[in-house]
């Protein structure tokens, strides 16, 4: 076997990062669910023969970060190394061996080169439906949340398992979309595999041992250098959010040691009776993501760079749910993990992390069915949308308006959503005044207003939080606005759970703002005037919260009439 120089390994590492990116792009282009193709709720990675993750696509969402790194060893163990054959493709949607809920399918493809197993490709995507009660918080156990596919073969030595396909088709509401998505997952691994083999030929590699060692050693050393440079110590963070049955408190004790950072979630709330519980793998993903953003943002994710971020939690708590706890909306708790971790990290590393933000995505799923007046051929349709509130203000810059943090997904275009089902989105725009006040203002949330096309009615499965627990400011910053939800006739609705919407009614939602950072009295005059001109804040807030005088307010109002920017 050829000896490879440092320069050659540098080139190969670059190549693998490009390979997984291309793998992810292929998934976006071939997927059927809007959650994958428009929102990018997916991930893709390449592994060595031991199942250690070498590179992960930056396209995708942080929730899959560690879950993906941990998944392949589960597949190797379940399938049995000796039973892995060329042409096989495996899949699962097991929440505990995949990425935390049944709606994520993970597909793993072994890579063979010259007849030998050299590595694996894995990818994950969020599909729109897996049967059961439908995507939502209402399940009392994982059994109610949909069909469960343990780790098994999707393709057996080149042949797709027709029995599995038939079972899946018979158990879900959108069988064409699901099967299409599974093919897309298999395709994306296949594309990664082809490119890997091209690279191995070019560099005359028989296995990935050399490049794997190079990547992992350099990543490990770089991560440890970052950790070693931090002040040692411990701090506690805590945050309470709505939950479903009762409010949930997340607690973390963060300890920075010389060679690792431990996030210990002991003392967090127990399990919720409904499906917002979070398997540990997903809690870990967001704890690790939060720390990496703050400490080592440019170090790519792989087995070695993730290893020093350790996690502990008590079993059967909200952050470490075990089978058969319901977990469909585990993202709600998961998305609050970074704000909890930052509450602790802020004490150890001041002036680095943002104030609290909207946290969890503001998602809802509409289950539409034809009414008696429906046109011929009308059928039931599931439409899922992803939306974002405002992010928390940062130490030196405002929070981002209607932008996901910590999640990495995109929203779906309104026009694409209306093509996906008989839905009308009447409003989707920024929510003035919802950003927490401060020297740096919290990001604005957004308004949405939705209904069904005539001839349809629907249930809305709400997945919102921060109705009673808005984002809290940091260093004197104000809280963000809370979530609100009601029918257009004023009937209040709940932040979570499946709720029937009468025909012809619309649902009015206001998604939360991010919190502010620092005292509002320290905010630059020019920024207050700019915010007023743009309608991010009201004249009343400019006067009361920020102390803008009447003459300045009048001046801004004149500028608006004159079509001037500030």
């Amino acid at each position: 076997m050829a000896q490879h120089s440092n320069v050659a390994y540098q080139v190969m590492w670059n190549r693998l990062i490009s390979v997984v990116e291309e793998q992810a792009q292929a998934l976006v282009r071939t997927a059927f669910s809007t959650s994958v193709r428009e929102a990018g709720d997916l991930s893709a990675g390449v592994y060595d023969a031991q199942g250690r993750m070498l590179a992960q696509a930056v396209t995708g969402t942080p929730g899959h970060v560690n879950a993906m790194a941990d998944a392949v060893p589960h597949f190797i163990r379940r399938i049995g190394r000796d039973n892995i054959r060329e042409g096989d493709v495996y899949l699962t949607n097991d929440p505990w061996e995949g990425t935390g809920h049944l709606h994520d399918f993970t597909m793993v493809t072994p890579s063979f080169h010259n007849g030998a197993l050299v590595g694996f490709f894995a990818c994950t995507a969020h599909v729109v439906d897996v049967g059961g009660r439908g995507f939502g918080a209402d399940g009392n156990s994982v059994y109610e949340e949909g069909i469960h596919i343990p780790i098994m073969r999707f393709v057996d030595a080149g042949t797709v398992d027709a029995t599995l396909i038939a079972i899946l088709r018979g158990n879900v509401r959108e069988p064409d979309q699901l099967i299409g998505d599974l093919y897309a997952l298999a395709t994306c691994n296949e594309i990664g595999h082809r490119r890997l083999i091209d690279m191995m030929r070019e560099f005359t590699l028989d296995d990935l041992g050399g490049i794997s060692g190079f990547i992992l050693e350099n990543s490990r050393r770089a991560t440890l250098e970052r950790i070693a440079a931090l002040p040692r110590g411990s701090a506690n963070g805590e945050m309470t959010v709505d939950g479903f049955a009762a409010p949930i408190t997340l607690r973390v004790k963060l300890t920075i040691e010389e060679t690792r950072i431990l996030s210990d979630f002991s003392g967090s709330s127990g399990l919720d009776p409904k499906g917002i519980n979070c398997p540990l793998v997903y809690t870990k993903a967001y704890a690790c993501y939060a720390l990496k953003c703050a400490i080592a943002p440019e170090i790519p994710n792989n087995a070695a760079s993730l290893a020093p971020f350790e996690i502990a939690a008590e079993e059967n708590t909200i952050v470490h749910a075990l089978h058969p706890a319901p977990v469909a909306l585990r993202h709600i708790v998961g998305h609050f993990v970074p704000d909890t971790v930052y509450a602790a990290l802020d004490q150890l590393l001041p002036d680095l992390v943002p104030a609290e933000g909207a946290g969890c995505l503001c998602n809802f799923q509409m289950s539409l069915r034809p009414t008696a007046h429906a046109a011929e051929g009308a059928r039931r349709v599931e439409v899922l949308t992803f939306n974002s509130g405002g992010s928390g203000a940062r130490p030196t810059v405002d929070g981002l308006n209607a932008t996901a943090f910590p999640s990495g997904v995109m929203t779906m275009p309104v026009e694409a959503t209306e093509h996906a089902g008989p839905v009308i989105i009447w409003r989707k725009e920024l929510r003035a005044g919802s950003g927490g006040t401060g020297k740096q203002r919290g990001g604005l949330g957004q308004y949405m207003e939705v209904g069904a096309r005539s001839g349809y009615e629907f249930d809305l499965s709400a997945m919102f939080d921060r109705v009673n627990h808005p984002a809290r400011g940091r260093r004197g910053g104000g809280a963000g606005a809370p979530t609100t939800i009601a029918l257009d006739d004023g009937t209040p609705m709940k932040g979570k759970g499946r709720q029937r919407v009468p025909a012809e009614r619309r649902v009015l939602m206001a998604f939360p703002g991010g919190a502010g950072y620092g005292s509002a009295s320290e905010r630059e005059q020019q920024e207050i005037k700019r915010d007023l001109a743009r309608g991010y804040i009201t004249a009343q807030s400019a006067a009361q919260d920020y102390g803008l005088n009447a003459a300045d307010i009048a001046d801004v109002q004149r500028a608006i009439r004159a079509g001037e920017d500030i």
Binding site: N6, V28, E298, L400, A402, W426, L430, A559, G563
Partner: protein
């Protein structure tokens, strides 16, 4: 007296305005500094220079083809007009909310690019179409008038109109235009249903806003240009290069200036396509590398690949998502931050990184001796022997190899325990690999394998790196044309008159409606041909038909080319077969049992390209003479070898050179790796192939 055989190509770039005059078979070119305040001045200046060289009067010029980065720069620098947007109630913030995501997930202090228009310049009207194009809520003049009056009082010069689902039904947008015309007769108006009638509101609204934003500026510039040319007794027609690789009338350009974005790079692709035609090459990869970026484009059957959306004004390391999307027909190119000035460094993983940060021209690479202390790609090229320190830019800039070595050692070698040569090799390998990766990804996205491709390289830095790139990509043949420094302006002179009309109309194969398809495609053909006819009233016009198809439920379409017969006598079975063939080629296997859907319909009307004289390729003859040699690092062998140095303009047709070698000229140097040999072709191209 204007003569049709005398044509002028003008490319206004960021630094230089390139002017090329062709008179029969003769070509004269010059570069003058771009004059930002009044770009037409540089054109007039350059025009007189080439006319003097050619010994003709400016009045003799028969046609001017013009491309410019002015539109792009106005968007990047936010120097547009006072512009308002009128949009659907409930959707005021579409261009600000973007995709609601962060394009860089690990940067806690990320800032998103501001929308072109701040919120107080965005207005709403009621009225609503649904996803079938039916009217859900009516819109009346009474609804619109107060909004228009507010806009009028504020003194807006340009108004963009973008309403939800207007690509399916433009009635409301047209009504808004009527009211605007009645109450603001002098305002400029852009409708999203005309500028970019495609689904996805963020892209469409952003495109119509961009068009409105630069419209007054571009119209004023084009009027001034016409005036100045008139003053110089130049009365010939002036046409504009558009981003799709064709040319349109000055009037169309003033109406749809957003179509001028990226016209310069489009000219480069047309230049490469023309060379492909001369050599009868069906699979070409064009590679353009300058000081700060490299651009790569696939050219199939002598036609550059096109796309329907791209991103301008990326604000964050050329990162996808950090700019603004523009959905117009455009030549599909990947651009990455890799050029001669791109700087190298070592990151926390002890990996060498190159670009997108660039040394620019001041201070420039370390070897310029103007205070640059960080190593650029040019420094690596110098240490590896690819550049001659005494003959860079025709000897006008002496290079200092010791400064390069110091910079490489300090920034890279010390950290990685490498000597300066190995550091230079590492830096060059990383930048070449970055470009190769971009090319590979682009090829795979288009379902292409680069194996059978020929590369055509132009731009100052491309010939230094193209040979190695070919080795990495498994590309066997490389052509380096003459005149590569002004390739885009030459490309303008090769472009046909063309206009592409697109429309989003959803139709499944299960609901296939041949009569409706024929009507739709006929309308699109009329629209597209109308634009071409204003430029070339008598020329025969060809129409290219394309539909974008996907499995129903997917979000991304693949383009399917139809013959005129397939378009005008549509058959669902044929559409299905064409789609499945392409899908399988791209993604490996079709998906069984799903309906297929057509989403976008497109007709590109174009004049017939001039017949291209084929190059009679020379047989390999005697070796070219070489009087000197120098030590050149060969990356594939990872060692220095003695390389002959050949003056490119002394090479005669048929003469050959075996690698390792450096073929030098004033503007650049062609590096021939050990694995390659070169032959000079009759048209001056250096034709480089793998030895075996």
């Amino acid at each position: 007296m204007a003569s049709p055989s005398i044509r002028l190509g003008v490319d206004i770039g960021g630094t230089f305005t390139d002017v090329v005059l062709e008179s029969g078979d003769d070509r004269y070119s010059t570069k003058v500094l771009t004059t930002y305040a009044a770009p037409e001045n540089a054109i007039i200046d350059g025009m007189h220079q080439v006319c003097t060289k050619a010994g003709i009067a400016a009045a003799d010029i028969g046609q001017i083809i013009h491309g410019t980065t002015l539109a792009t720069n106005a968007l990047i620098e936010r120097r547009g007009a006072k512009t308002a947007l009128i949009t659907t109630e409930g959707f005021r913030d579409v261009i600000e909310m973007r995709t609601e995501s962060r394009f860089e997930q690990y940067d806690l202090n990320l800032q998103l690019p501001a929308p072109l228009l701040p919120r107080q310049m965005r207005f709403t009207v009621p009225g609503r179409m649904d996803a079938t194009g039916a009217e859900l809520v009516p819109l009346t003049r009474t609804d619109i008038e107060p909004v228009v009056d507010t806009i009028a009082r504020a003194g807006f010069e340009s108004v963009a109109v973008g309403l939800i689902h207007s690509y399916l039904n433009d009635a409301h947008e047209r009504l808004v235009r009527d009211v605007l015309r009645d109450r603001m007769p002098n305002v400029m108006i852009s409708l999203s249903s005309e500028v970019s009638p495609q689904m996805r509101e963020y892209e469409r609204f952003n495109t119509v806003v961009a068009n409105a934003y630069i419209k007054p500026l571009m119209k004023s510039y084009l009027d001034r240009l016409r005036g100045r040319l008139h003053d110089e007794d130049v009365r010939c027609p002036v046409f504009l290069m558009h981003s799709g690789g064709g040319i349109i009338s000055i009037e169309s350009a003033a109406e749809f200036p957003v179509r001028l974005v990226e016209s310069g790079p489009a000219g480069g692709a047309v230049f490469a396509a023309h060379i492909a035609a001369r050599y009868g090459l069906d699979k070409v990869l064009s590679f353009d590398m300058g000081g700060t970026t490299a651009k790569i484009c696939l050219i199939r059957d002598q036609t550059p690949k096109t796309s329907r959306v791209f991103e301008v004004a990326r604000t964050y390391r050329f990162k996808k998502g950090s700019g603004m999307p523009i959905s117009i027909p455009v030549i599909d190119m990947v651009e990455i931050g890799a050029g001669g000035g791109s700087l190298g460094s070592v990151d926390a993983m002890r990996q060498i990184r190159v670009g997108p940060e660039s040394a620019g021209s001041e201070p420039g690479p370390a070897c310029y001796g103007r205070g640059g202390i960080r190593p650029a790609v040019t420094d690596a090229d110098l240490v590896l022997g690819k550049l001659d320190p005494d003959n860079f830019a025709g000897g006008t800039i002496p290079l200092d190899p010791a400064a390069s070595e110091t910079a490489l050692t300090n920034e890279i070698g010390d950290t990685l325990e490498m000597d300066a040569t190995t550091a230079a090799f590492g830096l060059a390998e990383v930048v070449d690999e970055n470009m190769a990766n971009a090319a590979r990804v682009h090829a795979v996205e288009n379902g292409e394998d680069l194996g059978g491709y020929t590369m055509i390289a132009f731009g100052g830095a491309a010939p230094l790196h193209a040979g190695r790139l070919c080795e990495k990509l498994g590309v066997n043949r490389l052509l380096v044309p003459p005149g590569a420094g002004v390739g885009s302006a030459i490309g303008f002179l090769r472009a046909p008159f063309s206009f592409e009309a697109n429309r989003s109309v959803y139709m499944t194969l299960a609901g296939f409606d041949p009569a409706r398809i024929v009507t739709l495609l006929t309308e699109l053909r009329e629209e597209a041909q109308g634009f071409v006819r204003t430029c070339a009233p008598d020329a025969p016009i060809l129409s290219e038909f394309k539909v974008y198809m996907r499995y129903k439920g997917q979000g991304w379409e693949i383009p399917i080319i139809l013959t005129e017969a397939q378009a005008m006598a549509p058959d669902a079975v044929v559409f299905d077969r064409l789609f499945n063939e392409d899908y399988t080629r791209l993604f490996g296997r079709p998906v069984a049992g799903l309906d297929v859907e057509i989403t976008v319909w497109s007709v590109n009307a174009t004049t017939e390209p001039d017949s291209v004289a084929q190059v009679r390729e020379a047989a390999p003859g005697a070796p070219a003479t070489s009087h000197t040699s120098r030590s050149l690092f060969d990356p594939a062998r990872q060692e220095f070898a003695e390389a002959q140095v050949v003056l490119r303009n002394r090479m005669k047709t048929g003469q050959t050179v075996n690698g390792p070698a450096a073929l030098t000229e004033d503007e650049t140097t062609i590096i021939l790796p050990t694995s390659r040999r070169a032959i000079r072709q009759p048209d001056g191209c250096i034709d480089i192939t793998a030895k075996d």
